[in-house]
């Protein structure tokens, strides 16, 4: 025992205290603080997302409209790449050496140990050639992926397309999507995205410090399988869709066909169209820009987005509303002196001097006078102030789905235009206006905007004698055969059934012996109505809508061909061919009949040049000939080629309008 014996306690105490400190700290980080476990899992775990096959879309007869086709992405892991003949490699995959270099630098920057896409969507041929020689290029491998493929290249606007998600869409989805994921951008692909995309699977793998895969986590206990997207059975009939697109070739316009008893859309043609396969693959970006800049706007979904004044087909609605209002009945006779005189000096010309016509005859002959008279009576002589008479009329018309969206299962539908009373009050700065101020509404002209879809829906309403199902594009989802409940509800338009008979009779006569006589089919009774829509910007639009057969209708159809002239010349025969194709699956008309429609080119013939030349002509008259040669012509010429912005007829139109308004203003007709 030495004198410092007691110091052993001091030393032992210090050692014990320090050891306890270690223990407490370890207890804290191991047992209490859970962040380390999370960090450890972050270190080791990688969630690999397994993409399911996107649902395919079929037509109503289960023919494929869109399917998936394998493509091959060339992947690279820069850390594993050994020296190789880059030039031969570039030739093999068909890229330039400098692109190869920049791409390789990019991949290296991303990660040395993680795979990244080196070249997207190699063709099957390139991939096969590459696959054979891949052993020469360690670090590269080919990965399968699937892209959309459209076997018949039809129904582009109907089906829509998919594309990589943008930041906005990622944000909107609550980060459901990741960068590089695909999402439906338009058409069915967009509106049924939730169903088509399926359920993504997750594979949890473990990686080491260099991100090399080291097997599955817990033998895949937390992994989930990918569930393929639902297959959609669309309501489209591939036969008439394809035929319709052929008929609309080189024309601008739309075809919408609806099955009246279900509201299913049988054909949805928007012309000019594009090959939907253009929106897939390596050239997608270029194609997209090309389509976007095209003057005829192929990306514009005309059936739901183009709004036209309906023209004469609107008379059918007026005939129904007028009967319901008891303004006319089927026997009401009106005499047509070749036009309808209204207001102080107003006169709405009719096509012919029809003489005495009843309602059926007025529809058959499309008599402007009859409907001008009827409309005036509905608005002005309803026992209310004309403005309220108009409101009542508008209310009745809007029930036909006009002026509001039909909520079809496609994105970006437009509602069209059915002007409110307030619009006219504002325009005339007075509430004291009557039918004379918007008489053109009686014949479907003026401030009306109706989409081809709405037109076809009106045809379906008449076919059903008073109700419609919301038009929709999807018949069944997967094997479940379910669709949205609102598609099975009848929407009544507030017109009693008996009022349809004279209208249907009139429409039947239109085809049997009226304006659309040329479109008659033996043994199939078509009830239709032609329309020739006056177009202040160019040639008249040709419009026709119809349903067939008269008894137990199977198809209601609307056809619009822009700048084509008479409804009976173009739209009606196209509709008639499609009706026959749909009902009979064959065409009984002679070949020349079909060929005329197939081969016609009704695209505007470089309107820019045409209009400008007339402009120059008018200038010519004012300026001496030699001065044109020297100065004016050379200056004007370059302008001709780029746009049609040379103003010409506008001032005169405005002048006309002004004089028209002035003549109308003084005395509201009572």
């Amino acid at each position: 025992m030495d004198s410092f014996f007691n110091r052993k306690y001091v030393i032992q105490t210090i050692f014990i205290v320090i050891t306890l400190t270690l223990l407490i700290r370890i207890f804290y980080i191991q047992v209490i603080d859970k962040q380390y476990l999370l960090s450890a899992n972050n270190n080791v775990l990688r969630r690999l997302i397994i993409y399911p096959a996107r649902g395919i879309i079929l037509d109503r007869n289960l023919k494929v409209l869109v399917q998936n086709e394998p493509v091959y992405d060339l992947m690279v892991i820069p850390g594993q790449v050994a020296a190789f003949d880059t030039l031969a490699f570039c030739n093999l995959i068909g890229i330039q050496k400098n692109i190869f270099d920049s791409q390789f630098v990019r991949s290296k920057k991303y990660s040395l140990y993680r795979a990244s896409v080196f070249e997207k969507q190699l063709s099957a041929k390139t991939a096969a050639a590459l696959q054979e020689r891949l052993f020469e290029y360690p670090g590269f491998y080919v990965q399968n992926r699937s892209v959309r493929y459209y076997p018949d290249s039809i129904a582009a606007q109907f089906l829509g397309y998919i594309g990589e998600v943008n930041d906005k869409e990622i944000e909107k989805s609550g980060s459901f999507y990741n960068k590089g994921d695909y999402i439906g951008k338009s058409g069915i692909e967009k509106s049924y995205e939730d169903l088509l995309r399926g359920q993504r699977g997750v594979r949890n793998i473990m990686v080491d410090v260099h991100n090399r895969e080291k097997g599955s986590f817990f033998e895949g206990k937390y992994d989930t399988l990918a569930v393929s997207g639902d297959n959609l059975i669309s309501s489209l009939d591939k036969r008439i869709q394809q035929f319709g697109e052929q008929l609309m070739n080189n024309k601008i316009g739309s075809i919408v066909a609806i099955e009246p008893e279900t509201g299913e859309i049988l054909a949805f043609v928007s012309s000019p169209s594009y090959n939907p396969n253009m929106m897939v693959g390596r050239q997608r970006g270029n194609n997209y820009m090309k389509l976007l800049n095209e003057g005829t706007k192929p990306m514009f979904i005309r059936p739901t987005q183009a709004e036209y004044p309906p023209g004469s087909i609107f008379k059918v609605i007026n005939a129904l509303v007028a009967q319901q209002f008891k303004t006319v009945d089927y026997n009401t006779v009106c005499s047509c002196p070749g036009g309808y005189r209204y207001g102080y000096r107003g006169f709405m010309k009719c096509t012919h001097v029809h003489g005495s016509l009843n309602l059926i005859g007025a529809i058959q002959e499309s008599c402007n006078t009859y409907f001008g008279y009827t409309y005036a009576k509905m608005v002005d002589k309803s026992g209310l102030r004309p403005i309220n008479g108009y409101r009542k009329w508008r209310e009745a018309v809007s029930k036909f789905g006009i002026g509001s969206k039909l909520n079809i299962d496609l994105p970006a539908e437009r509602k069209g235009l059915l002007p409110t009373a307030e619009l006219y009050t504002k325009r005339w700065k007075s509430e004291k206006w009557g039918s004379g101020f918007n008489i053109s509404l009686s014949i479907g002209q003026g401030e009306l905007g109706i989409t081809p879809l709405q037109m076809a829906n009106v045809a379906a309403i008449i076919a059903n004698k008073g109700y419609y199902y919301k038009p929709h594009l999807i018949k069944a989802i997967g094997n479940k055969k379910i669709i949205r409940p609102e598609f099975t509800q009848k929407n009544y338009v507030g017109i009693d059934t008996q009022y349809f008979s004279p209208v249907i009779e009139g429409m039947s006569r239109v085809v049997k012996q009226g304006t659309a006589y040329y479109s008659k089919i033996n043994d199939i009774e078509i009830c239709g109505k032609t329309g020739t829509v006056q177009n202040p910007h160019g040639a008249n639009h040709s419009v026709f809508f119809a349903f067939a057969p008269r008894i137990n209708p199977k198809i209601a159809i609307a056809v619009v061909v822009e700048n084509a002239g008479y409804g009976a010349t173009w739209s009606a025969p196209i509709a008639s061919l499609l009706i026959e194709k749909y009902l009979r699956d064959s065409i009984t008309r002679p070949k020349y009949y079909t060929d005329r429609l197939l081969n016609a080119n009704l695209l505007p013939k470089k309107p820019a040049l045409k209009i400008s030349l007339t402009a120059i002509d008018s200038i010519n008259k004012k300026i001496k000939a030699d001065s044109i040669k020297k100065n004016i012509l050379p200056k004007l010429k370059p302008k001709l080629n780029d746009t049609l912005k040379i103003k010409i007829p506008k001032p005169s139109i405005k002048k006309l309008k002004d004089t028209l308004y002035e003549t109308l203003k003084p005395k509201p007709s009572r």
Partner: protein, 420 residues
Amino acid sequence: MINQRSFFFNVDWLSILLFLFLITIGWFSIYAAVYDENAVYIIDFSSNSGKQLLFIMVSIMLGVVILLLDSKFFYVLSPVFYGLTIMLLVAVLLIGRNVGGNQAWIPIGSFRLQPSEFAKWASSLLLARYISSLTGKLNDFSNALPAIVILIFPMLLIMLQPDTGSALVFLALVFTLYREGLSPYFLVAGFMMIILFVCTLLFTKLVVIIVISFVSAFIIYYFYKKNKRIVATTIATFILSVVFIFSVDFVYNNVLQAHQKSRIDLLLGLINDPKGAGYNVNQSKIAIGSGGLLGRGYLQGTQTKFNFVPEQSTDFIFCTIGEEWGFAGTSTVISLYLFLILRLIFIAERQRSSFSRIYGYTVACIIFCHFFINIGMTIGLVPVIGIPLPFISYGGSSLISFTILLFILLKLDANRMGII
């Protein structure tokens, strides 16, 4: 006097048992750290675990040999051992192999000798011999100076390698000196220096000086009439502290190297760099922390198996234990160490000869220092100082020198009734 033939009954079997426990845990941990599912060989002499098995066998044989030697052997030859290790420390600076910036290894065949590991027990032996031969007080400067020289000399050589970590271990022997009569003020001063150093880095100099001014003023006010000596001491301490505080910046900026500074900054939370300088400690904490209460199970640790933790079979071997065995494992290992160290102090205290006692304390201090610094750095309590965990970390020099260190004490203890 106990019969020489009953020698093995005199050996402290409890310590040997603890020693065996620790090397076994060590081997299994090393096996787990280098474990690769694709290459499962229990004994593969090219892998760390295979080599460690070899080292373990050598160590045990050396231990037996030490126990069979005459206990006077170590007393008598301590200057020779010391001289040899000093020569080796000089040699390593000349012919050593540089690994990771440290010139600490002398290559011998396929193995590498680390002289700094052997310097610990050689210095301990000579220190014990010197102090036990003292007649005066250790507190006297003339008596303390040779003791300090014995320690400083190998320290300086090791720092030249530069291996600051191994050199720092010698400072732990201050506890031994304290036990033998060194003034407690040295301990207090050392403790205060650490506190002041940390505080000065964490706060500003001004704040620290104001705080110690208040503390000093309070002490002076309280003892002013009762004890003049305390007042004088306080004033002296205060002045020295202020000088020290002003020297902190100088030491920090001019003496410490960049990586040492960043390790201290990381520990104090002055910088946060989990991807760079702080990577090791961060990953080490993640590995240990993810173990939870019971761990992930043997060979199931992902952090260590997939190499997220660097140096995992040597300096960071404790991570493997922490991840695979959880708090149950770490607390067991820590308890084993504490038990061993307290047992060693107990053994030291029961020696009749002061040489054996002093040597016993040096063994306890060195093992404790390694244990505390190594585990402390893996859990972010101590700056990263690369020294091994005794008996557990992979490494032949380390294991063999710790075994020699321990077994010399056990030999002396077995012979405690004899006269040295």
